[in-house]
């Protein structure tokens, strides 16, 4: 099963590197969103609290612009039926999930680097806390966006449906992650933000379990 999932991941990676659809849309969105924020801010000094929020605004909408590709591309090319014949549902999901996790990590690393370079108030005072919230937040984002991508792939208005459906599901993750980013910028210790970290971790566990349980039904229609 792992070998099959890996093969599926490699297939996705190759087709992505050939078309560069998701990478391009993510990169364009990051650049456009951050430039607009830069223009809007102007000479004003943005407070730490606001930077943490703006950071997650860019992450959320960037994720919404590119991550639905995982399943939408299969549907558009008409290859989803073949995929159903070849592999078990959980294998398909694992392959797509790994692909999306790598995409999310790349995307957020780029966003973090850009923020650190362009915003003077984005100075991470507690790097360990930031790293922890970054890793768990990214996993949660990847899992949720993958399962929602699978749900909307068969629907009509994919572009609008994706962020609308994702928002309520991602809300607990985003609230806690904004708080965690803020604490990391503030220099709050890990022990003081253990509740938020635990929320993000339990969110990851819930979404992973729910995704693997429900994917059979979503995939088989």
């Amino acid at each position: 099963m792992i070998a099959k999932a890996y093969a599926l991941f490699k297939k996705d990676l190759h087709s992505e590197l050939r078309t560069r659809y998701a990478i391009n849309s993510l990169a364009m969105f990051i650049i456009v969103a951050i430039s607009i924020i830069m223009f809007a801010v102007g000479q004003e000094r943005v407070s730490e609290a606001l930077t943490g929020g703006l950071f997650w605004v860019v992450i959320f909408f960037t994720a919404m612009s590119g991550l639905s590709r995982a399943f939408v591309s299969e549907e558009e090319r008409g290859t989803s039926l073949t995929l159903q014949l070849v592999a078990a549902p959980s294998t398909v999901f694992t392959g797509k999930l790994v692909f999306n996790i790598i995409l999310v990590f790349t995307m957020n690393t780029v966003i973090t680097l850009l923020y650190a370079a362009l915003f003077e108030s984005f100075v991470i005072k507690n790097f360990n806390l930031f790293l922890l919230s970054f890793v768990f937040g990214n996993i949660g984002l990847a899992v949720s966006s993958t399962i929602i991508a699978a749900i909307i792939a068969k629907a009509g208005a994919k572009g609008t449906l994706y962020p609308v459906l994702s928002f309520p599901i991602l809300l607990p993750l985003i609230i806690s992650s904004v708080q965690l980013t803020l604490s990391a910028l503030d220099g709050t210790s890990i022990a003081d933000s253990k509740y938020e970290l635990a929320i993000v971790i339990s969110y990851d566990v819930i979404m992973l379990t729910a995704s693997y349980l429900l994917f059979d039904f979503i995939w088989k229609d």
């Binding site: 220099g187 819930i206 379990t209 349980l213």
Partner: protein, 129 residues
């Protein structure tokens, strides 16, 4: 096959419970003991009263409003707020400041004042006829 759903459902319910519990814990908490406010580096809502004898200070250059607060046990704390003085500050019976204790003073980002009510209760007059 049935077991898988039971097990998965169990995990989801347990972690959902943990998450909801933690959500109620992670909000900003009220603190009326200033020694605790000074020792934590968390954002808290400190409740106390304004020390009238010390007065207040308005720093026009940095746009800051500086005053002293004390809690029920008489612990005093310097409060610095980035902004102007609230209108009814002088008549307030108690003050709630949201912020964090850093570098020897409480850096407030929000002030709430509680005012004595204008509408005091009157004794009910009963007629004896």
């Amino acid at each position: 096959m049935k077991n898988k759903y039971m097990f998965g459902g169990f995990i989801i319910v347990v972690f959902l419970g943990i998450m909801i519990y933690l959500f109620t814990q992670s909000n900003i908490q009220y603190q009326d003991d200033f020694t605790k406010v000074m020792n934590t580096n968390k954002t808290v809502k400190a409740t106390g009263t304004w020390v009238k004898e010390e007065g207040y200070d308005i720093d026009k250059e940095n746009k800051q409003f500086i005053f002293y607060m004390k809690d029920e046990n008489g612990n005093k704390m310097k409060v610095v707020y980035d902004g102007t003085m609230p209108n009814n500050f002088e008549s307030a019976s108690s003050v709630v400041v949201t912020g964090k204790y850093v570098n020897g003073y409480f850096h407030a980002r929000d002030i709430l004042t509680k005012c004595p009510s204008k509408y005091e209760g009157q004794e009910v007059q009963t007629s004896t006829m």
